[in-house]
């Protein structure tokens, strides 16, 4: 590996990031929206959070996470659209197809960004100028998806620096970071500009007198490992900042969850439970699609009066059916506060669903397994929600499937 020096090898990791992805896709699909401030929300109500804003909206101060009513104060002409997942999935697959033409070693980091590893591609491809390939990818996106589409491209010796490079000049930039300009780039950034440094990590660094990325770079490994992060994470940061690869890892799925902001305040408990049941069906379907069963259920509720409330339960044996998830979630939920504005459920302690321990109720388990598999097969063929519990009837028009941020497992 290295002894504290910078990675001086040729930068061969390319990070591609679609600019304001969902808003740009809407502007591509609907030409009359181009040049206008556009925001995408998961529901068209004034109290919904904005998930993406176009550059025109961002220029007016609209940011992600802002409520629609707040954004309207800044941008009265703001066009708010409800998210349209099939459209974004299509563009995601188009981007993936374009990236695959350059290397078999691509990783989609989320619905709007991916990484091409040119260290592992063919010799002929490695001989090409990567900046030229970056511009070619931009052109292909323009030609094959549409003229409103653009992306940021970052090239670096590791994933971290490639992503950092991709964020330097938005929109539509292309930057390269290597050992020759590393200090210069860090000199222009703040700690929060670094991927992985948010409020808590910044506070940890500030405690030992590190206030800038350059100070972070110059900190010795012992300080980072023993004092700041108090774990191997400190050494990983030391390597990462110098361009060595520490992020080429895949993580096993640990939890599967969904949340829902209730469409109205003051819903009766029976209706809230129906929506919780709907979430449980969705979580169960997602979990089984990954070949997993769970041991634990976690539920939470946010209340305007009682704040954040949560409960969890570990079962002695793994479970996988929607009914089993809901039965436990509903039991936990009996202690939830009265007035609720948001609910969520997740399954944790996941294990492979292939090697189920024999139980005294083996026949019953096998029956549930067959019924669940049949329901999943029908929903797979005829569309999500074709077969569902009678209890959740009518909830589909409120609790809709939305974009899974972060993970590309369900795309």
């Amino acid at each position: 590996m290295n002894n504290g020096s910078h990675n001086t090898s040729r930068p061969m990791i390319m990070h591609i990031d679609l600019n304001s992805c969902f808003a740009t896709v809407e502007q591509q699909a609907r030409p009359m929206l181009r040049g206008r401030p556009v925001a995408i929300a998961n529901r068209r109500t004034e109290h919904t959070s904005i998930v993406t804003a176009s550059y025109e909206a961002k220029a007016l101060g609209v940011t992600l996470g802002m409520k629609v009513w707040q954004a309207r104060k800044l941008a009265p002409d703001l066009v708010v659209l409800e998210s349209d997942p099939p459209k974004y999935r299509y563009v995601y697959h188009k981007l993936m197809d374009i990236m695959k033409r350059y290397s078999a070693h691509i990783t989609m980091k989320s619905i709007d960004e991916g990484v091409i590893d040119f260290y592992q591609t063919t010799g002929a491809m490695q001989q090409r100028d990567l900046a030229e390939i970056g511009y070619e990818i931009k052109q292909r996106l323009y030609d094959e998806v549409g003229c409103a589409m653009n992306c940021n491209v970052g090239i670096g010796p590791n994933r971290f620096l490639a992503k950092t490079a991709a964020s330097l000049h938005k929109p539509n930039g292309l930057d390269v970071i290597d050992h020759t300009n590393l200090r210069q780039v860090y000199g222009t950034l703040t700690l929060r500009d670094l991927t992985g440094i948010a409020y808590h990590n910044e506070a940890r660094l500030n405690k030992v007198g590190i206030y800038t990325p350059l100070q972070f770079l110059d900190a010795d490994v012992t300080t980072l490992q023993k004092i700041v992060f108090k774990s191997i994470v400190g050494e990983q940061w030391y390597q990462r900042l110098r361009g060595w690869e520490v992020d080429d890892t895949t993580h096993d799925i640990k939890t599967v969850g969904r949340q829902y902001v209730l469409e109205a305040r003051g819903l009766p408990r029976a209706q809230i439970l129906q929506r919780l049941h709907n979430l449980c069906e969705s979580v169960g379907h997602r979990m089984r699609s990954q070949g997993k069963a769970a041991r634990g259920v976690f539920v939470y509720a946010k209340s305007p009066t009682a704040g954040y409330w949560h409960r969890r339960h570990m079962a002695p044996l793994p479970f996988f059916s929607n009914q089993a998830i809901y039965a436990q979630a509903a039991l936990l939920f009996s202690e939830a506060p009265d007035t609720i504005k948001e609910i969520g459920v997740s399954c944790y302690q996941l294990e492979d669903d292939t090697d189920r321990q024999l139980s005294l109720f083996g026949d019953e388990l096998a029956r549930v397994q067959r019924v669940t598999a049949a329901i999943d097969a029908i929903n797979q063929r005829f569309g999500d929600g074709t077969l569902h519990s009678a209890h959740t009837l009518g909830t589909q028009r409120h609790v809709k499937q939305k974009i899974p941020f972060g993970s590309t497992r369900y795309l």
Binding site: M32, D77, V80, L81, P86, E144, V145
Partner: protein, 88 residues
């Protein structure tokens, strides 16, 4: 809020089937009220599933209004499902 109207109008469409990125391109469509709309730009075409059926969704404009047309590949029917104009 913008002015989106969601519809389910069966429309008659003249489309070209050729080569290139968009193999199928709606050119003109006629609404049940007799109004003809000339498509000036195809913004995006993407497939979507309606149960087992695949529909192709064409987001198009006539230069003043955005429209969404859906081609049902099983029944070979076209529907106008959204109209959005002015955004004022």
């Amino acid at each position: 809020m913008n002015d989106e109207t969601f519809l389910n109008e069966r429309v008659q469409v003249v489309a070209s089937f050729g080569e290139g990125l968009n193999l199928c391109r709606p050119l003109v469509f006629k609404r049940p009220n007799g109004r003809e709309v000339k498509v000036t730009e195809l913004g995006l075409r993407h497939p979507a599933n309606k149960g087992v059926r695949t529909v192709h969704i064409f987001d198009v404009t006539d230069g003043g209004t955005d429209y969404r047309l859906e081609l049902d590949t099983e029944r070979l029917t076209w529907h106008l499902t959204m109209e959005a104009d002015h955004y004022e």
